[in-house]
């Protein structure tokens, strides 16, 4: 509705815009309706018992913690890569950029299968881990790896765009004022790309915690919330999965809204 009001104010009302607004409105309804439906069909007693269900709250803490932790760890590797991609030209750069985008396009269940093979006890990584008494499959480490695998492209791409937008001039002038390359990065490039870097971190965190397909294959237990939602649905049905889903959506929406506010500021 507000679209129409805006158009009238804007004095650009015509038939094309009207049809476009109607078509666009349908896709908006398609996005909003299922979510609203989910919240409206919640029953208060079920919602309260779910909020007090320690399995649910534990899974939410676990999911948020693991995703936050892998986001921070991954940034140690992703930010240097993003900076190089933004600043340097080198052979096979296009291939490297394609590899970074690969997790976005491959099915996440397939990514999970690949990761499982990578960390299973008969693999190199898995046998190394089990020689020090670690079983990766079905561990928080496996969950973190699955989350990082599917979500790190969002951090790399966002940070790369941020670094690319920093004028080279500013880095050059800092160098002529005595700064080393590392000082240029920490004092000029990183602060100036801060907004994109933080957006990338939040996107990676949000994408990682929402991940189901890759996580469920490498670790059904301990359960992350997306796996728990699936498990409740599979074992007990829609009515039992719905309140868990609603609570988790509320948590993710909150993070998403905070991100939007930060980006608009």
């Amino acid at each position: 509705m507000s679209i129409f009001v805006f158009m009238r104010f804007n004095n650009s009302f015509n038939l094309t815009y009207l049809i476009f607004a109607l078509l666009g409105g349908i896709i908006l309804i398609f996005l909003i309706a299922p979510l609203l439906g989910l919240f409206f069909s919640l029953k208060a007693p079920q919602l309260f018992s779910t909020i007090n269900d320690s399995q649910v709250s534990n899974s939410i803490y676990r999911t948020l913690l693991i995703s936050a932790f892998v986001t921070l760890i991954a940034s140690l590797f992703a930010l240097p890569l993003a900076y190089i991609l933004a600043r340097k030209r080198f052979p096979l750069k296009g291939l490297i950029e394609a590899i970074i985008d690969l997790p976005i396009v491959i099915p996440h269940s397939a990514a999970g299968i690949a990761l499982l093979g990578f960390i299973s006890r008969d693999s190199l990584v898995g046998s190394l881990a089990s020689s020090v008494g670690l079983n990766l499959v079905g561990s928080s480490t496996a969950i973190g790896m699955a989350m990082a695998f599917v979500s790190v492209p969002f951090l790399i791409n966002s940070a790369r765009d941020g670094f690319a937008a920093v004028p080279v001039r500013l880095e050059q002038v800092a160098e002529t004022l005595g700064a080393s390359r590392y000082q240029v990065f920490t004092q000029i490039s990183l602060p100036l790309a801060k907004r994109s870097v933080i957006s990338g971190l939040v996107l990676m965190f949000a994408r990682g915690m929402s991940e189901f397909g890759a996580v469920v294959i490498v670790a059904y237990h301990p359960m992350t919330t997306p796996v728990l939602i699936f498990d409740r649905f599979n074992s007990f049905g829609l009515d039992y999965a719905r309140p868990v889903a609603a609570i988790f959506i509320a948590v993710t929406l909150l993070i998403f809204i905070l991100l939007r506010i930060y980006q608009k500021r």
């Binding site: 004028p167 001039r169 500013l170 050059q172 002038v173 800092a174 160098e175 002529t176 004022l177 005595g178 700064a179 080393s180 000082q183 004092q187 000029i188 602060p191 100036l192 801060k194």
Partner: protein, 213 residues
């Protein structure tokens, strides 16, 4: 001699610069002029160390600096667009080279104050650089470049971005810097603007020195 350029050569794509040779005495004011595409920006970036020479030598204050990185050269550079750090205040912009040199905060404070007084920007030190006028930005950039205490200060088109009435004022500032004994290289496409300032002048054309006086 503060600066000796010996048979300096550089090429990028189809364009060849040099071989160029010239000298500049300590406290001298060298004007490098030429139309766009004459190679004056390349020459400036070679002296500052932002580009690596293909051949020849760059000797600054008797030390060979041909291949030293920009941060190790005693050369300051005032970019045409001033290149102020937008995330730092005026104070922090001027303090930037001093902090890199790990000076004590007391020393930094007094040095920034002295420079701000000298360039008449003492009232602006708390300001965000985005709120400054063109003339103010230039003076902040000059203060920052001088804070580095460069043996040679290179100015890239320092007057062309300024309004007519600010230009005379800025010219006076440059004349004062020269009087203080600062060795200056002034790069410009407009030879008229260096009248009364330059002690030496080089005109470039298509990568070569067309005239020198």
């Amino acid at each position: 001699m503060m600066l000796q350029i010996e048979s300096l050569e550089y090429s990028v794509g189809e364009f060849n610069l040099g071989p160029l040779s010239f000298e500049l005495e300590k406290g001298g004011y060298l004007a490098i002029s030429g139309p766009s595409g004459s190679g004056k920006s390349l020459l400036m970036e070679l002296i500052a160390g932002l580009r690596r020479a293909k051949n020849g030598k760059i000797i600054i204050d008797s030390a060979n600096h041909t291949f030293t990185p920009p941060r190790e050269r005693p050369v300051g550079l005032l970019f045409q667009d001033y290149a102020l750090f937008p995330h730092l205040s005026v104070y922090d912009n001027i303090a930037f080279p001093l902090r890199i040199m790990k000076k004590e905060s007391k020393v930094i404070d007094s040095r920034v104050k002295t420079l701000a007084d000298y360039f008449s920007i003492e009232k602006l030190t708390g300001r965000d650089v985005g709120t400054l006028s063109g003339g103010e930005r230039q003076r902040v950039a000059l203060a920052r470049a001088i804070a580095y205490e460069p043996n040679i200060l290179i100015l890239d088109e320092p007057l062309s971005a300024l309004d007519e009435d600010l230009r005379e004022e800025a010219k006076q500032t440059l004349a004062d810097l020269k009087k203080m004994g600062q060795t200056i290289i002034h790069v410009t496409h407009n030879r008229n603007e260096i009248e009364g300032l330059a002690s030496k002048s080089i005109a470039l054309f298509q990568g070569f020195i067309k005239s020198e006086f």
